[in-house]
Symmetry: C2
Subunit: 129 residues, 2 copies
DNA sequence: ACAATATCAGTAATGATTTCTATTATCGAA
DNA sequence: TTCGATAATAGAAATCATTACTGATATTGT
């Protein structure tokens, strides 16, 4: 069987994500990890981000523009994507389970959950314009 | 100013999407269009799919696994993605505007709308297992 | 300490999408 | 109906994000 061995790189990747709320890309994680691990490889970052999101310790966000982003916060929540500056923000709502349940009524398979991406203009970009 | 000129290829791409409910990828559109346009270029397909979704005549779906998919149905609806066979199905719900409104209450920018992707196992895959 | 093997760094390869360039098609105006 | 401006094309090359490969290193149970 495949056992999971500890890795300092993987631990550091997860710790880094926990300190951020801006949903960084693999590239940004890589740049920051190089302080602690000057020789870390981008492949290692990608491999561990994929592993961590597979086992549910982080969340992968596919926004549709640019690279995937990663979120260290795995509490259920939605995301907002600004169409001007492309920033990504958390959006807490307590109706998520209800929506999955409602959707299940109209569906003949089995629903496990859902993701939602809200789009619009963020507060900062509104001020600037 | 940039004016839009008619193109038989673009028209055919849109017409093809209207005949399908399975949300094909650019590659699949390309393969099918070659019947009518033996020399059509994949670049042309991508360019027109991007243009059509920019002007709101089709919808682009970024599923997180594999290539983007495209939907000729622009009536508001959600999508379901099967985690077994990766098929994509429409999921009609009449609470979409209400969810955007609800989310707006907790957000300091301006929300235009949202996309949601439900995941789980489709009816066919349940039968097979 | 040793053996088994998961993980690594570094690099090459892949897949999806975009960009570039010279040619062709569209369309309003003459 | 032709002309000129330019949007759109085919085909190919380039880019971007991500994954796979390879030989070396780190981790863990015994």
């Amino acid at each position: 069987m495949r056992t999971l061995k500890h890795s300092r790189q993987r631990e550091a990747i997860k710790e880094f994500l926990m300190t951020r709320t801006d949903h960084p890309t693999a590239d940004i994680v890589y740049d920051n990890l190089r302080n602690e691990f000057p020789n870390i490889s981008l492949g290692t970052v990608y491999r561990n981000l994929a592993l961590l999101s597979e086992i549910g310790e982080i969340q992968k966000l596919t926004t549709g523009t640019g690279a995937d982003r990663f979120d260290g916060n795995i509490n259920p929540h939605y995301h907002f994507i600004c169409k001007e500056c492309h920033c990504v923000q958390d959006l807490k709502m307590d109706t998520m389970d209800a929506l999955t349940e409602e959707a299940s009524k109209h569906f003949d398979g089995k629903l496990d959950g859902h993701l939602a991406y809200f789009y619009g203009t963020c507060g900062d970009c509104i001020k600037k314009s």
